[in-house]
Symmetry: C2
Subunit: 210 residues, 2 copies
């Protein structure tokens, strides 16, 4: 897939590099030559230009990408104008950064397909993580449905999943268990770099603490 990332602040820079190292075609755009020089070797193509300039967008074929991400932060006018122009030029999907809910609504009105707010998204994840004891990670699946990763509470150690009866008691389905490798296991699993193994739950084998 062909991507354009416009605006190489921290978010844009990181996104451009990650997409490129995931094997995607990435055109990185910024009006600052310094930023463009920094990223040149880490994307397909890096171009210093004013992204609000329609002629320049066409000349550099930015209008021919599959997805454009507009990550111009502070300059609200440049961000909205670039977003509107890219949609008018026919880019299938334009994702625009919005610093506030008002900006987000404006972006949607002018055609942004998605709006991203890195600080808010990260703050929401951290808030959930900090509020739920034993919580490590969460994926919301539906209104009343989430996948949650937790640390095995000490009270569960030595019990088996059958003993704990998660499904009946808590309406919880255990999908996977990660456990620290014992020293014997560590030596036989050379490929496991971080000292943990992940496996499907065996309802009859006891959980280890932590």
């Amino acid at each position: 897939m062909r991507f354009a990332v416009i605006g190489l602040g921290r978010f844009g820079l990181r996104l451009a590099k990650q997409l490129y190292s995931a094997g995607q075609e990435v055109i990185a755009v910024d009006e600052s030559m310094t930023m463009v020089d920094q990223i040149r070797d880490e994307v397909t193509l890096a171009i210093a230009m004013d992204a609000t300039d329609e002629g320049a967008l066409i000349a550099n074929k930015i209008d021919q990408v599959d997805v454009a991400i507009v990550s111009i932060g502070e300059d609200f006018e440049a961000a909205t104008l670039t977003t509107a122009t890219l949609k008018q030029l026919g880019v299938a999907r334009v994702i625009s950064r919005a610093l506030t809910p008002t900006t987000a609504r404006i972006m949607e009105k002018i055609g942004a397909d998605d709006v991203v707010n890195p600080e808010d998204e990260s703050a929401d994840r951290w808030a959930t993580r900090l509020v739920t004891p034993h919580f490590i990670n969460q994926m919301v699946i539906g209104e009343n449905f989430s996948a949650v990763e937790i640390v095995t509470p000490n009270e569960w150690a030595g019990k088996t999943l059958v003993d704990l009866n998660m499904r009946q008691k808590y309406h919880v389905n255990i999908v996977a268990i990660r456990a620290k490798l014992t020293p014997e296991e560590k030596s036989e699993q050379q490929d496991n770099a971080d000292g943990w193994k992940t496996f499907l739950p065996d309802p009859t084998s006891p959980l280890r603490v932590g």
Copy 2:
């Protein structure tokens, strides 16, 4: 749990409000009275002070929180000094924002228990989302294990999970399915605000498209 959020930029502001509306005790701190006034009604306590001032931290009992989040962005010296001081004053968990990997290593050296980089975390999530077709959401469980939410590919419509034989073919365990409510279902599920229902998979009922 008692939290202190220090530095009310976009990330800190959002985190403080979210923690408070999740029922936590939140002390919000910023040297700017403007920022403090803005958030006063949305946290337990909002204090305008210089967070590097050890005397002020003690006087305001910031050293008595369970978790402190230091989200001072640009002023690297203030961020590191505040982090080091809070650890020395005995705060059990200090989470510090780091703008670069180098800053992150410094934060860890001076005692930060966690490091947060909102732009990078959000960029990584968006990169994964954009690179995987049909991809909606992901939670990494272990090295070779993830929970992934995808849109039902059109080729699967009308087939049942038994037909598709996911577990054998793709080593995939389907955990949940979300489907748009049909008009009849919509009227009976009044509490389902967004027109979707989520349910555990029935291996013999056919998947709907989308």
